[in-house]
Symmetry: C2
DNA sequence: AGTCGCCTTGAAAAGCATTTCATAATTGCG
DNA sequence: CGCAATTATGAAATGCTTTTCAAGGCGACT
């Protein structure tokens, strides 16, 4: 509609933005290929030429057009990262956890000089994914949080698209995954309960999420492994990924309260504490509680929350590394990162 | 080095990924321009041709190569988003707040069919910024959190690069900003203290951050506006953006404790509660406390934290809208979004 | 001294889609 | 029925960089 304001003039500051490799070549009195070689650090150039070209390029603030580069190469040097905003928007993830993961990935990619394209929301089926990939928007995908999309990811794995997923690691998934030891994490929580002589355990979380299912399995393992005690593993409060104090409260309304709760996240654990307090139940007096992710506020919470800590510091770099291997044509194995328990008041 | 694994074969699934517009043209028995026109919804094509082309394209799962598109057009339809990971990694931001902002931006961009490029960390000076822009990685920038980079952003504003910043809005900044009413938020906190008859106020936060400085100013305004009371505004604990229970504790060690604390974030508020509790001080009995951002756990905290709520739901869309206007050549005005106080136990 | 081979450089093609301009086909009108 | 005016389509140029291939210049070796 408008579009005249900028089009008309060409003598302003805009002109400099149009600088191309040819311009640099002309100014340095060489050909474009030579400029290209210099800028890419090729050894096939005289030191003297190199310096001249670099000098000109710097003086004019020239930067290579990445899009032309991407077009020329088969590789785009771009990685699409998919976040689970969907559930986050509803207050679900809440933890800065995914954010930390993203920071790690961003850093690792930048080191390797890869662009990070945040994939649009709504890439929910294989078709949308493939289109996105074919449009060469990206060489590969990093999916942060598999959510309930496991099936989609599995069929994606067959499509020859480089893909790494943060989440549950299962041997038969058919795609490369990096994740923490959810089973082990769950077991740690259970062992904590055992050592506190708790007998009525409750798991809070939606086990349709593969990661959470594994944590639950770990918890069960611990229950079965307990000697001389019969553990009562209460039916799961199979609530959505979203956990609020209200949902917990309404669950509590019907039953005799548990004496141990394993919440799928620290944020959920906080909600649990609130709901239990309303019923007059205080941790650790009346029940034990273990959260997950070890987010900073958990340490300051009252009571301070015992939680499972995942090694997120290396996660980003690892995800990127695995993806790069795939892009090179390899088929790297999945990785399970260790977890540990941070024992606090609950 | 390797590179043979994929290169050699061409009969596998790879071949289909190489599908180009020419292929579609040949298959549909038309020319490339026609395919292009069809795919871009140009009216210059017969209905019959259109259908044939679309049919072929769909059948073969063809998707336009965005990089070629970007190269051809002056606009890349890509927006770079800059996050303040730096401080986050040190446990600083912590709040899911920035994350929410990002989600909003992502959604708004996807609606407008714009790619979201997460800009690499370390874009700290004007030069790096400009290079990034010139490389045509992006048509414009959205900066989430101005941090202490205000000066850099100002000089950037003069460089003819479309830019919108989430953060403090000041009339002389020279760049377009969208942010919440930090001054008003600070005043709300102060008024809360006044109504609770608190007299020794402490602000926790690093006022080198423009946003935080404004909140502090708002607090001061409320102090000055109080009738019949002399408010004692304690020297700021001018700690880094990172606030831990330890920093608060060491600050407390030297002075008579305040009876009101305004923390720059809910996460910081939680740290404050922890440190005060260690000194035997309980809110709201011994002091009032107001946080910022209204993150979910604040409601479940014990005591439940009174906080300032920002309208993040519209923020993302607004940021994108302002940026688009700039890319079109306009110079949109900055916007201040309203804040409100969520009064809870503290 | 002559030939071979290496090193540096440039011309041209390729990578994929869009846009301009020209052409062929069709319609409308006198 | 012939000419002008549309309309649908294609050829060629364009955007910017990288890669291949060829050529020219130089020293080294026999």
């Amino acid at each position: 509609m408008s579009g005249e304001a900028t089009k008309g003039r060409s003598g302003r500051g805009r002109a400099s933005a149009r600088l191309t490799m040819q311009d640099i070549a002309r100014l340095a009195d060489v050909s474009t290929p030579t400029v290209s070689r210099v800028l890419n650090g090729s050894p096939l150039v005289t030191e003297e030429t190199r310096e001249r070209v670099l000098e000109v390029a710097r003086a004019h603030g020239y930067a290579v057009n990445r899009n032309a580069q991407k077009l020329r190469h088969a590789r785009t040097n771009t990685v699409a990262v998919m976040l689970d905003f969907g559930s986050h928007r509803h207050g679900a993830i809440g933890d800065p956890f995914v954010f930390e993961l993203l920071a790690g990935v961003s850093e690792a990619l930048s080191v390797r000089n890869q662009d990070l394209l945040l994939s649009p929301p709504g890439l929910d089926d294989v078709r949308a994914f493939r289109d996105f990939h074919r449009a060469r928007g990206a060489d590969g995908f990093i999916v942060l949080g598999q959510g309930t999309r496991d099936e989609m990811l599995r069929s994606l794995g067959k499509h020859d698209i480089p893909l790494v997923v943060w989440g549950a690691v299962s041997s038969d998934a058919g795609y490369c995954a990096v994740g923490s030891d959810n089973l082990g994490g769950g077991r740690l929580a259970g062992e904590h309960f055992v050592s506190n002589r708790r007998k009525r355990w409750l798991f809070v979380g939606d086990i349709r999420h593969e990661e959470l299912r594994l944590r639950y399995e770990g918890l069960k393992l611990a229950a079965q492994g307990a000697r001389n005690v019969a553990i009562d593993l209460l039916p799961i409060a199979s609530m959505a990924f979203t956990v609020t104090a209200e949902t917990v409260a309404s669950y509590l309304a019907g039953v005799a309260p548990p004496d141990a709760v394993f919440a799928f996240s620290d944020t959920a654990a906080m909600a649990v504490i609130g709901a239990f307090r309303d019923r007059g139940l205080i941790a650790p007096r009346d029940y034990s509680l273990v959260g997950y992710n070890n987010i900073p506020p958990s340490a300051h919470f009252h009571p301070a929350i015992t939680t499972i800590d995942q090694k997120t510091d290396v996660a980003g770099a690892l995800l990127v590394e695995k993806l790069m291997e795939q892009i090179e044509g390899d088929r790297p194995a999945s990785v399970v990162l260790p977890t540990r328990m941070v024992r606090r008041e609950t």
